[in-house]
Amino acid sequence: MNSFAQALRDTLIITQRNLMRYIRLPRLLFFSVIQPVMFIVLFNYVFGGALISSISVPGGKYIDYLLPGILVQLVMFGGVQTGIGLAEDMSKGIIDRFRALPMSRIAVIAGRTLSDTIRNLVSMLIMISAGMLLGFRFHNGFWGAIGMMAVLLLFGLSFSWIFAYIGMAIKDAETAQLASFVFIFPLTFASAAFVSVQSMSSWLQVFARNQPVTMVVDAARHFALGIASGGAIWKILTWTTVIFIVFIPLSIWQYQRRNS
């Protein structure tokens, strides 16, 4: 068997293994979705009234503006799970078992990022349903909805590869979880995810406009609501490509390292 076919086969075996845990223990999925559902309800009803005047969306509903932002946060937390899962497998000796097998060197990480992307998709569908109960509607047709999910999942996948590296470098699930907050909260709050960037002080605007969360959320809103993206789609594709180019080799290197 050639090495590409082997990598693909091993990756799918690992993906299947990781997904089994959600089938055997569905409450894992339930609790990974409950937090963003809570966020969407709180943001919509607590801040929605105050924020609606500062933003402009077709139809003028805050929930239409908010949902893509919440979904970005969802896929980012999903990416963190990649790091946590790998750190856990390491501490339980399962990664040692895999590394001592004549299997593909990319499969354990690729399988983990793939299963987390599938889980992101399921969580996203649940979140969109919750959003619709609160009044969210797609304004750009079926393909717009597909485009939104695709760009969000791609961004989540790139985030998974970053945290794959971090999780294996830190080797401790708890620390990986804590480290993730330092990334996710500044990136999502200092972005266009929940509020308009124009409402921020000017120095923060510079950061907020140029960081990937704003780009992905702009691209997602473009697809979902039909508003102009301002080139956000190309920018976010560039960002994710760069992340893949850097973190895929780095993660594989970290996996193969024979240092402890």
Binding site: I13, R24, G93, I94, D96, A100
Partner: protein, 315 residues
């Protein structure tokens, strides 16, 4: 060909010297025991041989294949069962072994056949469809052993396979290993228990501080330690001379007597036989004893005796 071979292997972790020039050779089809306390370097040796850990100096081969030059070649020859059962809690026993077989490179059909075979051998066929989180500690270890056997390895590395298990389960694992040896698999087994090395291993290396401090069969190592000791406690001090007189019949080595505890220690050579003979003699002379016991040399004795010998050389 040796089942594995280490030549002058050195390994540091930062400033800590984990292995300080270890050389070992193991015959094919045998159980090789690595005996030593925590932190001695046993796990480091297993991790080097199973391609998980690089080292600075020296060479390591498994069945003639160089661990550094052809790690994937080595991975085809080995099975590894680590200190913790590396099994997935959420999968069933069957799924765990099947997945490992697929990742080893077997086809679906081969994997299915091999998995059923292994679960049967390890006595897990009935529990095959249960998730592993419902398994006991011993069942997990057996499953871990099963998963590491999927590729019919030439050599199995078992890192403390019975640590934390109850005596009955330990015996089960020992029996399983003995069955596998009959099929021609070689084993490298690390343990903290002298009894385990004694029961299982054909060849034993004692490791301490990253060095091999003794090597040989369990018999040779025991001889090094002066063998077993019978200890009995007298009822009163007046019977001392009669007791020592009896003891002298059984050994030419020094007999120790502690006047405070009234205990006599007699080094002996043939275990239970000597013990029975001593009991008989004590009975014949109508000497009453408070307690009587046979001591095996313990791992503590190994280290005490080996380290004190080192000091002797230094002086």
């Amino acid at each position: 060909m040796y089942s594995f071979e280490l030549k002058d292997v050195h390994k540091h972790f930062g400033n800590i010297k984990a292995l300080n020039g270890v050389s070992l050779k193991a015959k094919e089809g045998s159980i090789y025991g690595l005996l030593g306390p925590n932190g001695a370097g046993k796990t480091t040796i297993v991790r080097i041989l199973s391609t998980l850990l690089a080292f600075e100096k020296g060479s390591a081969k498994v069945h003639g294949v160089d661990v550094s030059k052809d790690p994937d070649g080595v991975r085809r020859l080995i099975g590894l069962a680590g200190q913790y059962a590396a099994v997935d809690e959420f999968l069933t026993g069957y799924e765990n072994v099947f997945m490992t077989a697929r990742l080893y490179g077997l086809t679906r059909k081969e994997s299915k056949k091999r998995t059923n075979e292994l679960l049967e051998i390890l006595g897990l066929a009935k529990a095959a469809k249960r998730p592993v989180r419902t398994y006991s500690g011993g069942m997990r270890r057996r499953l871990d052993l099963g998963a590491s056997l999927v590729g019919k390895p030439k050599i199995m590395f078992l890192d403390e396979p019975t640590t934390g298990l109850d005596p009955k389960t330990r015996l089960d694992i020992w029996n399983t290993i003995n069955d596998l040896v009959k099929n021609g698999t070689s084993f490298l087994l690390t343990t903290q228990y002298l009894e385990e090395a004694d029961q299982m291993a054909n060849q034993i290396a004692v490791i301490d501080g990253g060095k091999v401090i003794a090597e040989g069969t369990s018999k040779q190592l025991k001889a090094l330690l002066g063998g077993e000791v019978v200890e009995f406690k007298l009822k009163n001090d007046q019977e001392k001379s009669a007791a020592l007189e009896i003891a002298k019949k059984f050994t030419k080595q020094t007999i120790s007597y502690d006047p405070e505890t009234l205990s006599v220690k007699v080094p002996i050579s043939s275990g239970a036989n000597d013990l029975m003979a001593i009991v008989q003699e004590l009975n014949n002379h109508q000497l009453a004893v408070v307690s009587l016991s046979l001591h095996q040399p313990s791992l503590d004795d190994v280290f005490l005796s080996l380290t004190s010998k080192d000091k002797g050389i230094e002086q």
